[in-house]
């Protein structure tokens, strides 16, 4: 009976889901059609003659390659630094009992709740004082700091899943904590580390507001900021090129997301982040 009931409910559930899915796809159609339409406006229409003109127009070192390279430096640097710092921090928190552990973890959790848009004004002030404005490495340091609270939580959860007994053999052989970490623990949590890395990478790649405030010279700006030169500056908007650029800029994170979702499962990655 239950299976029959389930089957009867399938038709309406399918229909409702497809309707919702269509609503989610509609706003994206403009991006796809517009990118292929040499005369695109912000209307959605099938291009009269599909062409790759827009793509070849933006495919220059100035417009596309340098901003993407800057995005890569920013995201790669931030993700590497974040994972390294998070692994170091998570190891003692996961392996040694201390009365600092719980208060530390909960104050870190509070840090994840800080709205980054709110601290950009003081951070700008701080960067002016320390003469760090318009510096890629300093921006990487700041973005790593904002990503760290969540990254430490996720890394610790992944590390807790590796049994301590495996390290004890290494300790008996006289290996120090950090040697055991490198030789025993890290290889076993490779997949978890991949999730954290990609999670931070995607977040940084898509971030507009932070580099918009902290990086001033066009030669240092990532794609999220340089994309603005297609939009709104002098009224004349190159819609087709904007769409083409948007797609080229989005592809890397879409690919990375698919990697995580395949390898670890979207909900699994999320439970690492959400559970206490």
């Amino acid at each position: 009976m239950t299976t029959a009931g389930r089957r009867r409910a399938r038709g309406p559930a399918d229909a409702a889901l497809l309707l919702i899915g269509a609503c989610f796809i509609l706003p994206l159609l403009w991006l796809v059609f517009g990118s292929l339409d040499a005369e695109a406006g912000y209307q959605t229409r099938l291009p009269a003659s599909a062409s790759l003109t827009n793509f070849s127009a933006v495919l220059t070192p100035e417009l596309l390659l340098r901003p993407l390279w800057n995005s890569l430096l920013l995201s790669g640097g931030t993700a590497t630094l974040t994972v390294a710092a998070a692994v170091l921090a998570a190891y003692p928190l996961s392996r040694f009992q201390s009365r600092f552990n719980r208060p530390f973890m909960y104050s870190i959790l509070c840090g994840t709740c800080l709205p980054v848009t709110a601290i950009m004004v003081p951070v700008y002030g701080l960067f002016v004082q320390l003469r760090l404005l318009d510096s890629l490495p300093a921006t990487v340091l700041f973005m790593a700091a904002t990503a760290l609270p969540m990254a430490i939580w996720m890394t610790k959860n992944f590390m807790d899943a590796v049994p301590v007994s495996l390290e004890e053999a290494a300790w008996v052989d006289g290996a120090s904590g950090l040697t055991a970490l490198r030789a025993v623990v890290l290889p076993l949590m490779r997949q978890g580390l991949g999730v954290v890395f990609i999670f931070v990478f995607i977040q940084t790649w898509g971030n507009f507001f932070v580099p918009f405030i902290l990086l001033l010279s066009p030669s240092k700006q990532p794609a999220s900021v340089s994309i603005f030169s297609f939009f709104g500056q002098h009224g004349a908007i190159a819609y087709g090129q904007l769409a083409a650029f948007s797609i080229l800029y989005s592809v890397p994170v879409l690919v990375l997301y698919v990697l995580v979702a395949r390898g670890a499962g979207g909900s699994f990655a999320l439970s690492g982040a959400v559970k206490g």
Binding site: R6, A16, Y42, T112, A118, F209, I227, F231, G266, L270
Partner: protein, 293 residues
């Protein structure tokens, strides 16, 4: 001997130091600086940029008398409640619920569509939403096709447009949380209730929802905090306009600090936002702690 042991124990905590330094310098210090600067007349340029003076609670007094501030508090609440608490949360639950009943390929395809809007870089999503709600945009084309005259959404109903855009952008998160939660609900309880003749809505209200209570609470807290900080979407779509009709607190803080160069006043607004975030954060932490017991 005992002393040496505690020293060694404390040395073990050494690897935490890099993280702590980064967080102290780039998160804790700006928050403290924000509290301090909100009591000064610090400016972006000019004399007050070099030597800001202490002006006490003047910025906060100005906040209360400036009509833009209470208005933007109201707009922020409307934005958070309508797009996160109601929109993303309920739609995410609905989609996750439908997915448990629908055919596998259908739920996989729709899940991908919902997640796509979420994974896209925020500025790209904002451009797409801008094009969608523009006067000649996709939405009005569709309405025109159905014989309905659309409005100039971004000017006539800017809040409606940004709320809908944020629901579109953010629902994936709630959907993923609720899918994981519903997958953990034991089948046999629900089926036993079905045998006892419980209707669909009764099973939802009396069985499923109580079982996923902690996921609901966690999700509400997280989407609220994420939405509280939304800037790019609103800024690209309406820039807070027309005439402040969609200026939420992050947009107002940005305008005052960076467009008008009034850092002191901007940090006062930012401080209000930080306090709001911390209140939610502490509530969230207590919730998680309580959950464990």
């Amino acid at each position: 001997m005992g002393e040496r042991k505690t020293v060694r124990q404390q040395l073990r905590l050494l690897p935490v130091v890099p993280s702590v330094l980064l967080i102290l310098l780039f998160l804790a210090a700006p928050v403290l600086w924000s509290f301090h600067a909100s009591f000064t007349n610090a400016a972006l340029t000019g004399r007050n940029a070099r030597n800001p003076a202490w002006i006490g609670v003047e910025n906060y007094a100005r906040l209360l008398s400036d009509s833009a501030f209470p208005a933007s508090v109201v707009l922020t609440i409307v934005f958070v409640v309508a797009s996160a608490v109601v929109g993303q949360n309920l739609l995410g639950l609905l989609i996750a619920g439908l997915m448990t009943r629908a055919r596998k390929p259908v739920s996989a395809a729709v899940g991908t569509a919902v997640v796509a809007a979420w994974v896209l870089p925020e500025i790209v999503a904002a451009f797409a939403a801008y094009a969608y709600f523009s006067k000649d945009g996709t939405l009005n084309q569709l309405l025109g096709g159905a014989g309905v005259a659309g409005a100039d959404w971004l000017y006539a109903y800017p809040m409606v447009a940004v709320v809908l855009a944020n629901i579109w952008r953010g629902t994936a998160f709630s959907m993923l949380v609720y899918r994981a939660a519903l997958a953990d609900v034991p089948q046999d309880i629900s089926e036993a209730a079905l045998m006892d003749g419980a209707a669909g809505w009764q099973r939802l209200v009396f069985i499923t929802l109580p079982l996923i209570r902690s996921s609901i609470a966690t999700n509400l807290m997280l989407v609220t905090l994420q939405t509280l900080a939304v800037f790019t979407l609103i800024w690209v779509m309406t820039a807070g306009g027309p005439s402040n009709a969609s200026t939420t607190l992050p947009v107002l803080a940005y305008q005052e600090a960076f467009k008008f160069g009034d850092i002191g006043y901007g940090t006062a607004i930012a401080t209000v936002l930080i306090v709001l975030g911390l209140v939610f954060g502490i509530a969230y932490v207590r919730l998680l702690k309580g959950d464990k017991r």
